[in-house]
């Protein structure tokens, strides 16, 4: 019981490794001509799909309305986010090693800030793709924009787009939660120890008097 916060903190740090294994977000487009949908997966370091050619197929669809092609090489975040994640794994391991409440708090807070920043960055990219349209687009609909939802479902022309976190996205959420639980538990255990200390001290005094 006493070691649990440290174990939870360790687990939280290690859960971030899942970002390099599974996608953190998915966007699925469904239309009559695509009955089983076209699904794009967003990883920490790449953008993929259910097939190798998914991105090409999405780009072909997007070009009709003048959206620029999604080219993973042109998205710098995909190059530096992995370093941020590795750093957070290292810091998490350090926090676990220190086994101090303030370290758990610092890591969990930093993770919250980074996750919020990441989601905001994702929103900005979505906004850019959806609004920054080529003036030479073959299909132009006045006032229309094609930004997919950040989370949830939205109709975009003939498609219904659904955007949701995916496996490693959920696991990062769990990691942050675990870090906060570690912080809280750690506090509770320390508080209990103080109570025990106080309970023990009078005896000691009595012994010294005796």
């Amino acid at each position: 019981m006493k070691r649990l916060p440290q174990v939870l903190m360790l687990l939280a740090a290690l859960l971030l490794v899942s970002l390099f294994v599974w996608p953190m977000w998915r966007i699925t487009l469904v239309a009559p001509q695509y009955p089983s949908g076209v699904t794009m997966y967003i990883y920490i370091n790449k953008i993929g799909g259910e097939h190798e050619s998914t991105l090409q197929n999405i780009n072909i669809l997007n070009h009709y309305v003048g959206m620029k092609p999604i080219e993973p090489e042109a998205i710098p975040e995909l190059r530096y986010f992995p370093w941020v994640v590795w750093s957070m794994i290292a810091l998490g391991l350090l926090a676990a090693a220190l086994n101090r409440r303030w370290a758990f708090f610092a890591w969990a807070s930093l993770m919250l800030v980074l996750a919020a920043a990441g989601i905001y960055d994702f929103y900005l990219w979505e906004y850019d793709y959806g609004h920054n349209l080529s003036p030479n687009a073959p299909i132009k609909i006045p006032g229309a924009s094609y930004q997919p939802p950040l989370i949830g479902t939205k109709a975009i022309l003939n498609f219904v787009a659904t955007s949701m976190p995916h496996i490693s996205g959920y696991l990062v959420g769990i990691a942050i939660l675990l870090a906060w639980v570690a912080w809280w538990l750690k506090g509770k255990i320390e508080a209990d120890e103080k109570v025990v200390d106080r309970a023990v001290q009078p005896d000691l005094r009595m012994q010294s008097i005796a």
């Binding site: 190798e52 050619s53 197929n57 073959p138």
Partner: protein
């Protein structure tokens, strides 16, 4: 005298026909063949109704007969999905027109644009259809083709030398070890200039075994067996206990060569040739064959290079029965037997004596016993003729008139087509009693039950493949459609459910449950695996190269443009090769290519594939080209121009896509 014979035969047929009509009169529930009452009709309609968006339960592969192709239908709906070009050119798909597939139709006689395809046969594993390949024979210029059922494309064609009229073919063995090719027409052996009247002495009938590689499916001739010049009509391989044998029917054992309709119908019995191919393998291993000169083409299509290559081979191994005892036996079988069919257990060999009313059933066990006892009636060119009484297991008596073919269900019944009395007759294997009959409209040839010639029939439906339709459909001038009819055979009585027209003339067909085919489907070809020497795997690789009078255009397609789409510097008299690579990597996104004035077909390029169209412009001008397959909302914009200048003009070769920056 001869006329008298004909009249006598006709009278005999008429008598039989009348007799059969009487016999079977009450068995025909509705003479017109329209499902009788309203309730019956709606029940039949329900059984064949495949609701929009739902799929058929079975694939049916039907031969196109004189179209040379294979048509793919769904059962029970009868809907047509695809026509697979096999032995005839197909301008729609560019088959035989584009540079890649011309080699598929090469033979020892050169390029042949047409043939007559008869018997589709699915590959089998352990006597069950496995959904890997479909084989089919070409009758006119003897060949066997293999269709890959992951792409539904013809991927191999092997020519059969020393043969004429490749009718008893391809009929696989139970693990697709071999497909066979027996000649229907005797031909001089070796082929040479001799009087036709020297038939009996100079002509031979060859049975050919084509080995199929179990992994790649590649075919080549393993050996041929030299037999008397009878007409080997149909075949089926043994299964289960008779695995290792193939049975070929024969007619014209009279060895006549003119007015065969009378001359070849005189004998009371012809033969079923039983060939022990496992024995043949032993003789081959012992070197007891003759290697003889024989020119034949082996044509293979590759899904990596997207191209066919044709190789002419020069020799075959021939086994001669006189030197190979135990290789071939003749089973006397009445009246010019047509189809020969083996029941699912492999015990019974059914000879469908087409000029009689009876079916003769031979027993494999009895045949083996007779061979062991060496109880022979006579010996013809080293081939023992077994005694009819020794091998016959039973006779399905007076079942109808003109039996042609038999298929089986999984409940112990045989179903035989009767051409002259135009009906399907159901009989019990073992007791040989007729239990049901159903009329066909009209003149049924083959019939098909999915898996009906394998060890594991899926006996839910029966398809009758009819030669004549007369008044069944809206008339279309002098030539009327041929047709299939679907029967429900799951109950005691056969029930006619549906008529539907077919491609060309359907001879044999094969059926298979869809779940054996669907998982194998290839949706597109991976671009990075494209090994075509003239492919352009991205727009950056597109270019135009001149080599003397030859111009090679490395072109790509993607929704919705060609790259390049403007080309200048072509001259009258050039040979322009458009090598078009479809860059799409998604299912169901082919692009087409056609250019004005080309004495050629279109290209229809599947995603990831490269195909080549040859264009020889004859006059100067500017010629448009465009995409012929509606590919997207901007399909109509998918177009371009080629400028053709006089021979002596000095217009520079250049090409581009989009106005901003010409690619150079």
């Amino acid at each position: 005298m001869r006329n008298l014979t004909i009249i006598r035969s006709l009278a005999w047929l008429a008598l039989w026909g009348g007799g059969m009509a009487l016999l079977s009169g009450c068995g025909q529930p509705n003479g017109s063949g329209t499902a009788a009452g309203g309730a019956l009709r709606s029940r039949a309609a329900e059984k064949v109704y495949v609701a929009p968006g739902e799929k058929d339960e079975f694939y049916a592969f039907m031969s196109g007969g004189f179209s040379g192709q294979v048509s793919v239908h769904g059962l029970p709906s009868g809907r047509l999905f695809k026509i697979i070009p096999v032995f005839s050119v197909d301008a729609e798909k560019g088959y035989g027109f584009n540079e890649e597939t011309k080699a598929m139709l090469n033979t020892s006689h050169g390029f042949i644009p047409w043939d007559d395809s008869h018997h589709p046969e699915l590959s089998q594993t352990n006597g069950e259809t496995d959904g890997r390949w479909l084989f089919i024979n070409a009758n006119n210029t003897p060949r066997i083709a293999r269709i890959d059922l992951s792409t539904f494309e013809t991927v191999e064609i092997v020519e059969i030398p020393n043969s004429g009229g490749n009718h008893s073919s391809p009929f696989t063995t139970e693990n697709t070890e071999y497909v066979v090719a027996g000649t229907r027409f005797g031909v001089p052996y070796p082929q040479q200039d001799v009087p036709i009247s020297s038939y009996a002495e100079k002509f031979k009938g060859m049975l050919t075994y084509v080995k199929v590689d179990p992994e790649t499916g590649h075919m080549d001739i393993a050996f041929q067996i030299l037999l008397p010049a009878f007409d080997y009509d149909l075949a089926h391989s043994g299964k289960g206990k008779s695995h290792g044998w193939t049975f070929f029917t024969s007619y014209n054992t009279e060895q006549k060569y003119s007015l065969l309709e009378v001359a070849a119908s005189q004998r009371d019995k012809d033969f079923i040739a039983a060939v022990n191919w496992k024995k043949a393998e032993e003789y081959l291993a012992q070197g007891k064959y003759h290697e003889v000169p024989a020119r034949y083409a082996v044509n293979r299509y590759s899904d990596e290079t997207h191209m066919a290559t044709s190789t002419i081979k020069e020799k075959v191994k021939v086994l001669i029965p006189e030197e190979c005892p135990g290789l071939v036996y003749f089973l006397p079988t009445p009246k010019s037997p047509h189809g020969v069919d083996v029941d699912p257990t492999g015990e019974y060999i059914i000879g469908n004596g087409k000029l009689s009313a009876d079916l003769t059933v031979h027993s494999f066990t009895k045949m083996m016993q007779a061979i062991q006892n060496e109880s022979f009636e006579t010996v013809i060119e080293g081939i023992p003729v077994l005694k009819y009484e020794d091998v016959v297991a039973g006779v399905v008596k007076e079942a109808g008139l003109g039996p042609l073919h038999t298929e089986f269900d999984d409940r112990g019944y045989g179903y035989t087509s009767f051409f002259i009395s135009s009906e399907v007759v159901k009989w019990k294997v073992g007791t040989w009693e007729v239990v049901d009959r159903a009329p066909t409209f009209y003149s049924i040839g083959h019939l098909m039950i999915p898996g009906g010639d394998t060890r594991k029939p899926q006996g839910k439906y029966l398809v009758a493949l009819n030669k004549i339709t007369k008044d069944r459909y809206l008339p279309t001038g002098p030539e009327l459609c041929h047709a299939a009819q679907l029967y429900d055979i799951s109950g005691d009585k056969m029930e006619l459910l549906l008529d539907f027209p077919t491609l060309g003339e359907p001879h044999y067909a094969q059926g298979i449950s869809a779940d054996r085919i669907i998982p194998r489907q290839k949706k597109f070809f991976k671009l990075e695996e494209n090994a075509h020497p003239y492919s352009a795997k991205g727009e950056k690789e597109t270019r135009v190269e001149r080599k003397g009078d030859e111009v090679h255009v490395y072109m790509t397609t993607i929704r919705s443009h060609f790259a390049p789409d403007n080309i200048e510097g072509i001259k009258v008299g050039d040979k322009v090769y458009f090598h078009v690579t479809n860059l799409e990597q998604d299912w169901d996104v082919p692009h087409g290519f056609a250019i004005m004035g080309a004495n050629n077909a279109e290209l229809l390029v599947m995603p990831g594939q490269t195909e080549t169209l040859l264009w020889e412009p004859k006059a100067e001008g500017v010629y448009p080209f465009y995409c012929t397959d509606f590919c997207s909302a901007l399909h109509q914009e998918m177009q371009g121009y080629v400028r053709v200048s006089p021979r002596n003009a000095d217009v520079a070769l250049k090409w581009w896509l989009g106005e901003e920056e010409p690619v150079q």
